[in-house]
C-alpha cells in the first residue's frame, strides 16, 4: 500500500515514516506543508494520505483543507487526518466531503500500532475511521435519545461510529457476530434509522444521526 504523509514537524514525520515502513507500507513521499502534499499526491497517486491538521503558514486547519481538496481532486484517494486535539468542526468538515475512505484520529493513536494500522487499512479500503474521542463528544451531545439504548447497545453504536465492521465490533466486545447484528438491529429501530448493510452508509447514517 502506497502512502503520502503531510506533517510539518520533522521528528514526527520521520517517526511516521519509520513506523509505517516498518509495518510494510510503502511511504512514497513525506511533505512538510499543504502545497508539497498536494503536489506529492498528484505525482505519486498514493492509496492513502496521512495528513496533520495544523501546518504552516497559519497552523490552524491547513491539513483539513488540503485533505478535502485532495479528496475532491482524487476521489479514489483515502485520507486519514491526524489531529493534536479533537475539533468537532474539523471532523464535520471532513465528513461533509465524504465518509468514503476518510479517517480522523488523534495523533497519539499512532502509538497503538495495531489499531492504527487497522484504521489505516480500513480507510484505504473505503471505510471510515473516527477517533473514539470524536464519537464520545458526539455522544455527549445526544445524550437524551441515547438514553433509550442499553449500555451494550451504546458500546456497539460507538464502535459503529468509529467505523468498525461487525466482525471487528464482535472481536472488541468479545461477543458473536450474530449478537452484534442483533444489537445493531435494535439500535436502528430505537433511533428510527433505516437499516443498511453497506458499511460506509451505515457509518454515515450513525454519524449524521449523532451530529444532530
Amino acid at each position: 500500500m502506497r502512502i503520502v504523509i503531510a506533517e510539518d514537524d520533522a521528528l514526527l514525520r520521520e517517526g511516521l515514516v519509520l513506523l509505517l515502513s516498518g509495518e510494510g507500507f510503502e511511504v512514497v513521499a513525506a511533505a512538510p506543508d499543504a502545497d508539497g502534499f498536494l503536489a506529492a499526491v498528484a505525482e505519486h497517486h498514493p492509496d492513502v494520505a496521512v495528513v496533520d491538521v495544523r501546518m504552516p503558514p497559519t497552523h490552524t486547519d491547513e491539513g483539513i483543507r488540503a485533505a478535502v481538496k485532495a479528496k475532491r481532486l482524487h476521489p479514489k484517494l483515502a485520507v486519514l487526518v491526524l489531529s493534536a486535539y479533537v475539533e468537532q468542526a474539523f471532523a464535520t468538515n471532513l465528513l461533509a466531503e465524504s465518509t468514503h475512505g476518510v479517517g480522523y484520529l488523534l495523533k497519539e493513536r499512532v502509538g497503538r500500532v495495531e489499531e492504527f494500522v487497522d484504521a489505516l487499512r480500513r480507510v484505504a479500503a473505503g471505510g471510515t475511521a473516527m477517533d473514539p474521542e470524536v464519537v464520545a463528544q458526539l455522544f455527549a451531545r445526544r445524550s437524551d435519545p441515547l438514553g433509550r439504548l442499553t449500555a451494550r447497545e451504546r458500546e456497539v453504536l460507538a464502535l459503529m461510529a468509529e467505523g468498525l465492521g461487525n466482525t471487528a465490533i464482535a472481536e472488541r466486545l468479545v461477543v458473536s457476530d450474530g449478537g452484534v447484528q442483533k444489537h445493531i438491529r435494535s439500535i436502528f429501530a430505537k433511533l428510527d434509522l433505516a437499516p443498511t448493510d453497506q458499511l460506509d452508509r451505515r457509518v454515515a447514517a450513525v454519524l449524521h444521526y449523532l451530529d444532530g
Binding site: 514526527l12 517517526g15 519509520l18 513506523l19 516498518g22 493534536a84 495523533k107 502509538g111 500500532v113
Partner: protein
Amino acid sequence: MTRDAFEALERLAGGLGTALLALLTLAFWVLVGAACVVGVGLLMLPAMLALTRALAERERARLNRWGLEVVSPYPVGEAPVGWTARLRAARADPATFRDLSWLAVHGTLGLVLGLVAVILPMITLREATFPLWWRFLPPDMWVTSFGVPVTTWPAMLAVAVGAVIIQVIAVLLGPRMARWQARSGVRLLGPHPSIDLSQRVARLTATRAGALRAHAAELRRIERSLHDGAQNRLVAVVVMVAAARRALARDPALVDLALDRAQGAAEQALSELRGVVRGLLPPILEDRGLAGALNALAAGSQVPCGLAVGELGQLPLSVETTAYFTVAEALTNVGRHSGARRAQVTLSRDRDLLRVVVTDDGKGGADDGSAGTGLAGIRRRVEAHDGVVTLSSPQGGPTRIEVELPCGS
C-alpha cells in the same frame, strides 16, 4: 529665565484679577449672609450661587489657558427651576462647597500673592531711582514707600540696593508664587476626585480592552506553543517508542535509532515546556527579584549593556513581569536590528510610576506600527497595565524606548 519671570508675572496679574472679583464676591456673600438673618437675603441665594459659579468658570478658563487642565464639575443638562429646587441642587452638588472654599482661599491668599507680584515692581522702580530725584522733593517727602524717613545718601543707596535685591528674589520666586496662586483653583475647582470618573472609565475601558486583547494573544501563544511544541514532541516520543517496540522482533538494529529519537523528542518536549513556563512568569524574577533578573538579561545581551537600577521599593509582581519583558524584548530588538555598540537600561521609581528606559547607539528607525514586532508586544503588555510607551528612534539613531508603568495600589 526672563521669559519665565514675565510669564509668572502675567499669571499672577491674571490671578489678581479673579482674586479681586473673588474678594468682591466674598463681600457680597457676607452681606447676603447678614441679609439672610432678616429674611430678604434668602431670595438672593440663587443669584449668589450663579455669580460664584460664573467666577469659578472664569478662573477655570484662565487656568486652562495656562495649561492647567481643570474640568468643569457641574452636572450637564437642564438647570432646575425655582428657588427651592435650585438651592437643593446646589446643596447636593459637592462642587458648590468646593467653589465656596476656593472663593475664600483665592480671594485672600491669591489676592495677596497677586498684589505682591504686581505692586513690588512699582515699589522697586521708585526705590531704585529714588536717589536720582529725591533732592527735588521737599524734605518732608524724603521717605521710602513704607513711610520710613531717609535723609542721608548712604541710607538712600542702601534702600535702593535692598529694593533691587528683594525684587530679584521676587523674580526668582515668581513661578513658584504663580503655582501657589493657582493651586487652590487646581485643587478645588476640578471635579471632586470621586466624581472624576467618566474620563477614567473611558480610559479604563480602552485599557481593559487592551488587557483582554493581550490576554487572548497570550493564551493563543501559549496554546500554540503547547500544541505545536511540547505536545508534538510527546506524540513523536509515542510514535518512536511504538516503532521501537515493533522493531524489536523484526529489526533490532532499528530499535536503538528509534529509542534515540524518542529520547531526543522527550528532551525537546521538556525544554519546550520550560520555554512556555518561562514565558508565563520568568522563574528568575521569583528567584532573584527584578534587579537580579535584569542583571542576567543585561549580562546575556548580545550588545554590551549597562544597567542602572534606582531605589524601586515594593512593586506588584505583574509590574515587575511587564518591566522584565519590556527590557527583554527591547534588548532582543537591539541585538537583532539596531547594529548598536552599546545599550543602556535604566529603571527608576517616581512615586507611583516605574520608569524603564532602554537606549542604544544604533542606527535607529525602529517602528512599532507593524504588528508582530517586539515593540508592538511591549506596547500591548504596557497598555494593559495603564502604562505609556514612548519611542524615539530617528533614522540614524539613537533609539530610546521609555516605558512608564503605574505601580500604585
